[in-house]
Amino acid sequence: MMAEAKTSRLKDRPLSPHLQIYKPLLTMMMSIVHRITGAALFFGMLLLVWVLIAAAAGPNAYASVQWFMETLLGRLILFGYTWALIHHMLGGIKHLIWDLGYGFGPVEREWLTVATLVGSIGFTVLIWIVGYLVMGVLR
């Protein structure tokens, strides 16, 4: 491919360089993360439906939900769901700001992107601390 490109200057030139050509930037990473978290939340909706249906079905069905949520896997899924939800929400707010035409400067766009990442991790941890405190009060 490289040799051919040297011999024939007009052949095999990438007309539209794809992602691997560019240096990875935080805004690019967060762009795809927004899509990934969106897709995760799409399937994560099953989790909410399971909780609601189980609660509507009765104590036995709800007990199995509670059992699963207490397991390490259940906790990890719930933690991931929380982060995906918050990150998608903050990323969405960032996109709404961009949709209105603000925050496109080299400093602002980086600042906004870092803020969504730091904010999502911070709020997720905060929510779980509050969650555990609430559960502690009940027990």
Binding site: F42, L46, L52, A55, L96, V134
Partner: protein, 131 residues
């Protein structure tokens, strides 16, 4: 560009601004509309879920079935199901290039979003009306 005499678009089509899909920027707009609605609703959902943590079935039924919690949940479910339906449609259109697979994926997306939304709405209503 729109003045191009070779355009296939009729003058009426041009003034309606609806493009080849015949619904213009409606999907784009509804995606943003549901996104904005979901900001307060997601915060409310998190508060509700924290309130449910560690409680027994009877307490959970009472909380989820109460008027304002049920209404908030219903709003969240409807806007989210619609938002995720539109979002997944964009993802499918971007990555699934085979025409048949694209049609199948778009159909499955609609079935899934509708079923999940309806199941959640049904559960909340059942809890709320205590049937």
């Amino acid at each position: 560009m729109t003045e191009d005499h070779r355009s296939m678009r009729t003058p009426l089509g041009r003034v309606l601004h609806l493009g080849s899909a015949h619904h213009g920027t409606r999907v784009f707009w509804h995606q943003r509309l549901t996104a904005v609605a979901n900001v307060p609703l997601t915060i409310a959902l998190i508060v509700i879920i924290i309130g449910l943590m560690g409680r027994n079935h009877a307490a959970v039924v009472q909380i989820l079935g109460s008027t304002f919690v049920a209404l908030t949940m219903l709003l969240f479910i409807v806007t989210s199901a619609y938002h995720m339906w539109l979002g997944m449609q964009v993802i499918i259109e971007d990555y699934v290039h085979d025409e048949n697979w694209k049609l199948v994926s778009l159909m499955l997306n609609t079935f899934f979003s509708f079923a999940v939304g309806l199941a959640a709405v049904f559960a909340v209503l059942k809890l709320s009306f205590g049937l």
